[in-house]
Symmetry: C2
Subunit: 248 residues, 2 copies
DNA sequence: GGATTTGGGTACGATTCCGTACAGAAGGGT
DNA sequence: ACCCTTCTGTACGGAATCGTACCCAAATCC
């Protein structure tokens, strides 16, 4: 993953949803780079120069509690962007790290700011995906409170697979236990159960989804709900917000 | 709570944080009305004409899972606004109900839209409080996953008291159990524990905070963290975002 | 003022997940 | 080939919370 920057040729659903008459202009300052798992893309109290649009890398927004425990509070993949708040002058409040290695598109903060001013489509899509992310994060509150770990585990694997745009990716039980806020041993048990059901296989830091239908049936409703909302945000909401913006 | 609309004379921290040279103009179309507990202010697939700015009423954003269970995914009080997305053309995705009775300020959607265009301060504050709400909702994911019920209970009581701007308010264990996503009986036990510690007293649908210091000590870190972030959103962030807006 | 509804206390077995611990297996480095 | 680190399987007692149920007291209704 150490190849030099390359030109952007699609792959981030937010950028690709920009109306075609604006897209080329917006995308001009974008470059594509690889990201290794564990790389920090944003963190509080540090200046950052890039707004990030994942392609097949998956980022996790995490928080560390006062007792030192770390847990995931959000996921960003090819459906969205990370670091847009920098451009608006808002502080970065959470640490964001690369969860699944892969490629990201990125744009200098100042170029992004300029692009939002010029492109009503980009502005609308940033707002609508941010709203979808809010919906998703809200759903996670309830999901983590009332759903069984095995369901949440299935939900997580599916959502990350969608964002990583592949059915197999690197992931250890240990890492997943941090993401789900439970013990590593508990994840191992849930993973074994999903494996025995024929939904997944895994070995030494690598998962593969064998049967999406089975995995979806083991997951809670939150997976399909989230998937639908992100799709809608990139489709119809964007249009609605665009209408508003153009009228202004 | 059935008195007719009255003029707005302050009480919503977001409106009151608007720079004084813009505030009078923004606040002109605002009226104040009372709201009873249980009143629905917004819901999906229904047209709404008002953007709501709570004064001493507290609203809860809730969701209903497919099994019929209802749970809270957010709280809106005097630090923010509800329904602003309507004005931007985005869909209402969650049901919002009045949790603690009290007064709200409200503005017709069209007037709000106009005010956002005219007032850089209002625009910046809407963005910054929305960002604070995101931070808070993210925190709740972790809080609900790893913190003990008694801590979460204390956290909830404190945050709602801040929003309701009083130390006593109507609340049944049953309602609180829905908010926290647990059994009513579990809430009763946690409440008794907080009562025995001298932090609160309660009787038949009414809670009173007797000793904030004790209650804070029983609560998790999430309370103070959230309180600080909401304060910051209404103070320094607003200024930062304002700078950005004015430069544009 | 008697009946009905609502809010709260408590109990008991069941379940999920925790904390901790240890052992085996698969890769990586030298 | 060997060691060492990383990753996963599994076990055991304990804590938190669940589902359900029943009782009592206070408020409300007629």
């Amino acid at each position: 993953m150490k190849a030099g920057p390359m030109a952007y040729e699609g792959g981030n659903r937010l950028l690709d949803a920009i109306p075609s008459d604006e897209r080329a202009e917006v995308v001009r300052p974008v470059e594509v780079v690889g990201l290794d798992s564990g790389t920090v893309t944003h963190a509080p109290d540090v200046a950052y120069d890039w707004v990030v649009f994942p392609i097949d890398a998956v980022l996790s927004v995490v928080t560390t509690l006062s007792d030192g425990e770390t847990a995931e509070v959000g996921t960003v993949g090819n459906e969205g962007a990370s670091g847009a708040e920098i451009a608006f002058g808002a502080p970065v409040l959470r640490k964001t790290i690369c969860q699944v290695e892969g490629r990201i598109a990125r744009m200098p903060t100042l170029a992004f700011l300029d692009a939002v001013d010029r492109s009503a489509g980009l502005d609308a899509l940033i707002r609508s995906t941010e709203k979808a992310r809010m919906f998703f994060v809200e759903q996670m509150i309830v999901c983590n409170t009332v759903h069984k770990l095995e369901q949440r585990c299935a939900r997580w694997l599916l959502l990350v697979a969608d964002r990583a745009a592949r059915e197999e990716y690197r992931l250890t039980h240990d890492f997943l236990s941090i993401m789900l806020g439970v013990r590593r041993a508990t994840v191992s048990e849930a993973a074994k159960s999903l494996h025995d059901a024929g939904a997944i296989e895994y070995a030494r830091g690598r998962v593969r989804i064998l049967d999406r239908a089975i995995l979806e049936s083991q997951s809670c409703e939150c997976y399909k709900l989230a998937a639908r909302v992100f799709d809608a945000a990139l489709d119809t909401w964007g249009v609605a917000l665009l209408g508003r913006k153009r009228r202004a």
